[in-house]
Symmetry: C2
Subunit: 253 residues, 2 copies
């Protein structure tokens, strides 16, 4: 995590709504996509939650995270079927009503013939009162933003289009700069103490060590993260010097 003062940070949580993720049927790729997207915007993603298609669970999770972070991004549950309960749950979380939205109906009519706009499809135009619509270029049924909560589809292509539509309207922050240092096969246990000392010397630089195990053995990377280029560059030099100063050590880490 970055060390910038909390009041300067723009923070976020992702809330993935979907039984299909929890049952193992589908692998969620949306939260990784959003994580990378927010990193580019300088928004610190602080938490991801996956919750089932149960209204009480969605309401509790939305209210827990919206109080803590600048933004909450939800994915899933805004289609026309009975298991799509996100819009109603969001309205409940905010304690507001939910009604068919004329602008959303107009969006649906760009893709659906009036005689085919049945009750189920009209459900996709039910929007919590006070929300702002988010355009859906792919299949027209909109997402929405209410308060600091951004409600998007679960289908990746549509979610990505909605994120592009809402992103320009959001606060962004200074982007975290990242340096990845390949520690090769030097075991973590060999450099852990020295790295901890460097992490203490550079409190504004986040330092993490990430092993990758394969049949070829262990490879480690040290990742440095900071919003300021100066300390980051100096910390990188210090880590490189630390690594090159280490005697070769064949013990596993």
């Amino acid at each position: 995590m970055t060390s910038a003062p909390r009041q300067d940070r723009v923070t976020a949580a992702v809330l993935v709504i979907g039984d299909e993720i929890l049952s193992g049927r589908t692998q969620d790729g949306n939260s990784h996509y959003i994580a990378k997207y927010l990193a580019r915007m300088g928004i610190d993603l602080c938490e991801i939650r996956v919750v089932p298609d149960i209204a009480e669970e969605i309401v509790a999770a939305v209210n827990a995270v919206r109080a803590r972070y600048t933004y909450v991004f939800t994915t899933g549950g805004i289609g026309p079927t009975h298991d799509d309960i996100t819009a109603d749950a969001i309205a409940r979380a905010f304690g507001v009503g939910i009604e068919e939205n004329a602008e959303a109906i107009a969006m649906l009519l760009e893709r659906i013939r009036p005689d085919q706009l049945n009750e189920a499809r009209r459900r996709m135009a039910r929007i919590p009162l006070g929300a702002e619509l988010i355009e859906n270029k792919i299949s027209k049924a909109p997402g929405f933003m209410i308060g600091n909560v951004i409600v998007m589809a679960g289908v990746p292509m549509i979610m990505e289009s909605m994120l592009d539509a809402i992103a320009p309207k959001l606060r962004s922050g200074a982007r975290v700069l990242v340096e990845t240092i390949d520690a090769g096969s030097i075991p973590e246990g060999r450099y852990a103490k020295a790295l901890a000392a460097l992490a203490e010397s550079w409190p504004q630089v986040g330092m993490g060590s990430y092993p990758h195990f394969s049949s070829q053995g262990v490879r480690n990377q040290i990742v440095l993260r900071c919003r300021e280029a100066g300390p980051l560059a100096l910390a990188k030099e210090a880590v490189l010097a630390m690594l090159s100063g280490l005697a070769n050590d064949r013990a596993p880490g």
Copy 2:
């Protein structure tokens, strides 16, 4: 979600501990692996959370989920570097001490020469008091189980090995049976009302509708989930009959 009575269910949460997931550096695949694994064991995964490498966040999340579910599976943060703080956070969450564990040291010595068992590597043998070790066949540093919380490595190969080691000791449940029905290009909006009626008629069968959008258009799947084969088969027949009874509808869903 299944409709089995709550007291009969074996439930779980996954807690992924790692800045590298939140920053977008790494895509978490562990939670999907665990989701599929638990489904095969008849354990209902009810929640996934990803939290940063911050002790207070880990403690709060562990305590929130361990009170709610039969089991909690954590991944990440049990290596030798300063950013590996999971064991200490778990001890804090349980209000117990943490000490170097002789059995864990013995495990490390299967892979690390005694003269190379430095302070950082010894950290991997610090285990909350009262925990039971979980064998790590890959790199020896063990995971552990304390109360209902199972603490595993973040490196996928090691996590998978630990899951195999602990699984036989866990309660399992009746496996949820799944039927996936291809609705083809029939739009969700065309069958949503009829599907909702069937979902109401078969309360013991979970029914979800999952669209897949591609450049070739929309394809939908209806997924039925139930622990009993009888109702599942009858519900499947009913859904198939419903779909085949639908007139062809070219409007997008």
